[in-house]
Symmetry: C2
Subunit: 505 residues, 2 copies
């Protein structure tokens, strides 16, 4: 547990025992190791000792080597003790409030990352943060986003954010720099050196988080500029580092982060994935929110389109899973070829006519949209293959596949395999982890063992830098085909295409 509460009863002072308040309190605390008292806390310990009739509850948090006193409250308040798990995504911030005494999640909330107002993509933000002013602006924007999400979750849970004394954060290395207000300018130029990948425990007030000012903030450790704590958290949740068979873990966001290995070895790599699949790839793309088309079915014979809208009603746009459904359908019904070109020369495919949409505008997938998707998919394939080549593995040796990230949650696995976004494995070997970064943060909040396990994973991983890798660039260029240039890697897709007469026997 990052933060603990202890209710203790002290012997009241008298002339025969006139120890000062601080040592009197510390002597009563049932913890091993030294307990530091920050000045701000020392300034307010005396009052509760007396108003509580010498029965008080002390909140303590871990330090590098011991404990730090966070607060002292009169009486027994051990039942009210909360933590915050945070997934700081480039596009979305998700928080979960955890009851630390009951050890259960009591509320969750998500907010769009306010930094999006500065730039959709993280590289532009890192570039902006190279200057002190931009850095300060982006730092406060992300802090505000977290605070807003936290306030919403706290309201739902019926607690005050000040009751949160521990925070665990999952984020990619770039976002960690933006949240800490660190100069990220060396992350995006060779040799891609971050200031830090595993920050020390710090205090909420140091980064403007509106929880208890002395709340301890833990960051899940990352391994490099492009494989951050969010991906490592995913590995933890997947448990691939404990499995015997070779497993591929992929987190597709604006970056693609890949970890490959098993309980004996782990390699990691990352690359820019082009436009975010969370709706970023298509003109009318949107996040998976009410009003988004999340499912698309195209009848191979009639090419008639049917779709599902999140929350029902008229569609306002289409989200990543809808795009993947649509493209898979377009491929299997011969509307586009494996290179992504419209076979009949048209330049857009109509998913929903304006007459059916909330905006009155057609929701279409254009040639440009397809190019964008292929860029992203191609980056994923290239990264995976470069990593496999680097460790001398054949794609066929991958026994299990984990997809992390909010994107993976709604995705139709069959469609993802059809497009070559996911490998062509027995479907029960393909697991969508959902928001494993947030789950990992929740686990780290509750257990020192989990934090130790994260350190172990970090120590095992070999990080391979793809940004400067010529092999990656070549594969990237060569991998923009559905499902892949080498169709033999996708037997079930080849079979479907043949069945549809779209691939020669």
């Amino acid at each position: 547990m990052l933060s603990k509460k202890f209710c203790v009863t002290l012997s009241p002072p008298h002339l025969g025992d006139n120890r000062a308040d601080a040592p009197r309190l510390l002597a009563a605390l049932p913890v091993d190791g030294s307990v530091a008292i920050p000045l701000a806390v020392l300034r307010r310990i005396s009052e509760p000792l007396r108003t509580g009739g010498w029965q008080v509850t002390a909140a303590l948090c871990r330090t590098k080597c011991g404990w730090r006193l966070q607060d002292v409250e009169p009486g027994d308040t051990t039942a009210r003790h909360f933590g915050l798990a945070v997934d700081v995504g480039t596009t979305t911030v998700a928080v979960a409030i955890v009851d630390l005494s009951a050890k259960r999640k009591v509320a969750v909330a998500t907010e769009e990352n306010r930094q999006v107002s500065v730039a959709q993509d993280i590289l532009t933000r890192l570039w902006t943060a190279a200057e002190p002013d931009g850095r300060a602006m982006l730092q406060s924007l992300i802090a505000e986003t977290i605070n807003e999400a936290t306030a919403a979750a706290a309201a739902e849970a019926g607690i005050h954010p000040q009751e949160i004394t521990a925070v665990a954060v999952s984020a990619n290395t770039g976002m960690v720099h933006l949240l800490l207000g660190l100069d990220p300018s060396r992350i995006y130029c060779e040799p891609y050196i971050p200031v830090v990948t595993a920050p020390d425990l710090l205090r909420a007030q140091d980064i403007g988080l509106a929880v208890h000012p002395e709340a301890v903030v833990y960051f899940l450790p990352g391994v490099g500029s492009y494989v951050g704590g969010d991906a490592i958290g995913g590995v933890l949740v997947s448990g691939l580092h404990r499995q015997e068979e070779i497993t591929l873990f992929v987190d597709i966001g604006t970056n693609v982060e890949i970890i490959l290995g098993n309980r004996e070895w782990l390699v990691a790599a990352a690359g820019a994935a082009g436009p975010a699949l969370e709706g970023g790839v298509v003109a009318q793309g949107m996040r998976a929110l009410p009003g988004a088309i999340k499912r698309v079915h195209i009848d191979p014979d009639t090419q008639r389109v049917t779709y599902e809208v999140i929350g029902g009603g008229k569609p306002r746009g289409i989200c990543g899973s809808g795009v993947v459904d649509a493209l898979a359908g377009m491929l299997l019904s011969g509307i586009i070829d494996r290179a992504g070109h419209f076979r009949d020369g048209r330049n857009a495919f109509l998913v929903a006519p304006g007459s059916e949409t909330a905006t009155g505008q057609d929701i279409v997938i254009t040639q440009q949209d397809i190019k964008n998707f292929l860029r992203t998919k191609g980056a994923v394939n290239a990264a995976v293959e470069t990593l496999l080549a680097a460790v001398g593995l054949n794609p066929r040796e991958i026994a299990r596949f984990y997809a992390a990230g909010a994107f993976g949650t709604h995705l139709d696995v069959e469609a993802a395999v059809t497009l070559g976004l996911y490998p062509d494995l027995p479907r029960d070997r393909i697991v969508s982890l959902g928001n494993s970064a947030l789950e990992a943060a929740r686990l780290a909040l509750l257990s020192e063992e989990v934090r130790e396990e994260l350190r172990t994973i970090i120590a095992q991983i070999t990080y391979i830098e793809l940004n400067a890798n010529a092999d990656f660039m070549a594969r990237f260029a060569g991998s923009q085909f559905f499902p892949h240039t080498d169709i033999s890697l996708y037997p079930t897709v080849a079979e479907k295409l043949r069945a549809a007469g779209l691939l020669k026997k």
Copy 2:
């Protein structure tokens, strides 16, 4: 050493070694134990690594259980490394700048404590600080005083205050509370409980000290509300805790702090001493500054007065040592009796007529001044005797006497014994330690062993509370005689009085 500097050379990063800046630096530091990096420091480590061509100097300070990074500078700056020793007195603040690489004092300065503008006596200040506003005001006043003295000393030493990365503070417990901004209201009412007597190491910026913001601040530990780190520092400097013979240590300020014992046992006590002897007891009293009468001689036969002025020239007032000289002379030439009354019924004694003074006013010692002095002296005697009684010792068993405090520095030992302020011991057994509080701070700045020794002294001391001690009150009332009600405790004084026909055979 509270703070250390290390010059290290790092291997520059490349694609094959893309560790982040922080772990790269930490790996190069030759220290055992964990090194924490405060966010403020983490935010600026990357630049110097590069401007210094991967050769940098890191400043680290001790923490409760390891090290904390204070700063990183390009190149080798190990030669410029400074510490500050501070004696925070109720009336005067003294600082010494210490060159931590050369281990020597390079400049000293003193300032009048700006809190004097609020109140001369510390009890009024503690009372004022019971309210948050008063507390904040007194905290900034003392911080300003220290900063002003530090700026003066830094200018003299030719350094910038920002180059000071370690501070050691000697102060009584009340002043510690005022400097830390702690509520001192329970110090002055039974059972006299301070918030803290041995504060944790903290950072200069936490209390507004204008040195390096990450400078570590160490407070000499005290043992109770009225025996503070300044007195314990005096014990350290005197070495009485290592001696075989029973020694009495007295620090006379606005409080009298007494420590009695030897290498086997130590007892401590304290009591309000009435007006400060640093000139506080008499109407025209002043601190021992240029223009103060520091020596007075009265011819027993002619009662003619001669005096010495600090810095020469015309006198502006009279300081403690001058008052003691004058009163001893007045007693031995029969001008006042042992109760302090003028034998010839006059109500004042003329030390310097207005015609000789800088102000044009007579410098006199009035009946009221004598009463004040007796109050202070009586408090010292009463405290000593109560403590002796408490441990069942006879005054004659005291083998050695140490006088601490600026006051002791200029005092004429013979006169102090004559008045009963000091015990009547062979004069070579009476040692004036001067400002032992400042000296102790200087030693603590330089050595972990010294800080360990201070902890040991604290652990050995038994603190006896006199404020609520009826015995003390009785002795206080009964001890307002020159040199003492029991003249037999002062054989050499009795001899002088007899020789002068002022005491019956």
